[in-house]
Amino acid sequence: MNKEFYIESSISICNNKVISEGKELFGSDSKDFSTFSKEVYKHFGTNYPKFFKMDNLSKLAFLGAEILLKSQKLNESDNDIALVLANRSSSLDTDYKYQQSISDKENYYPSPAVFVYTLPNICIGEISIRHKLYSENSFFIFEAFNPEFLTGYSEYLLKSGKSKKVLWGWVEYFQQEYKAFMCLISENGTQKHNIETIKKLYTE
């Protein structure tokens, strides 16, 4: 018999807003992501100075996970949460910045702090470090949001006992254009985890 899974909570971050299940948790008139992300960080009372060293993709993923997992009150014995993230632009925004920083041969000072973020899955590492997750994780690159694959893969992780919960999502950032949609799924919850519900939450 097929097990059913549920969405415990979900969140969207885009267009200077943080939205969870149709409710706006935070909104801003800021002109750029750097300002907006700092406002979100402060609004939700986050205290993690390493946040300011992250690239924008990691900041976006970090904030989504931070808000979603805050209510979970995790401790190390019950934080069996797999992470599955995906996007379209990989780490191209940071790759581009890094390439620019090394393009002038007369002024060639590659920045280690920028270079470390030239992989998209670094944002999974940042979330794992913050929440002490030693779990399964994957980062996929797709042409567009792919709920069919992401729901199926996340449910596979639950069905096969790889984790008790899965935090999966779409975290896209490229040159000030961004969209994060993340959800936490498990055997508990009120909203069924299916493509129809996910598409509805994604477009809210």
Binding site: K38, K53, Y109, P110, A113
Partner: protein, 85 residues
């Protein structure tokens, strides 16, 4: 020397994105790593780049960094003695 130390503090805050710190929060003898400012290994690499870019100092042996980057005072002492810019 006093100006150099204040300059270094401002540069470190900006380069290493230490958003919650101001120049006044950093004492000349505060440890930069460990229990002091809590810098990490990537920060150490950034400091090596900063020494090269802004003061023309290339550290041939990264192990030298351990002593040089002990505090703002040790950094300033080393820069004063070795700067080419």
């Amino acid at each position: 020397m006093g100006n150099l130390k204040e300059e270094l503090k401002a540069k470190i805050i900006e380069t290493l994105n230490l958003e919650d710190l101001s120049v006044a929060d950093i004492a000349d003898d505060d440890a930069l790593f460990g229990d002091g400012l809590g810098l990490d290994s990537i920060d150490a690499l950034e400091l090596i780049v900063l020494m090269d870019k802004d003061y023309g100092i290339r550290l041939a042996d990264p192990k030298e960094g351990r002593a040089i980057f002990t505090s703002i005072q040790t950094m300033a002492d080393y820069i004063e003695a070795n700067r080419t810019k």
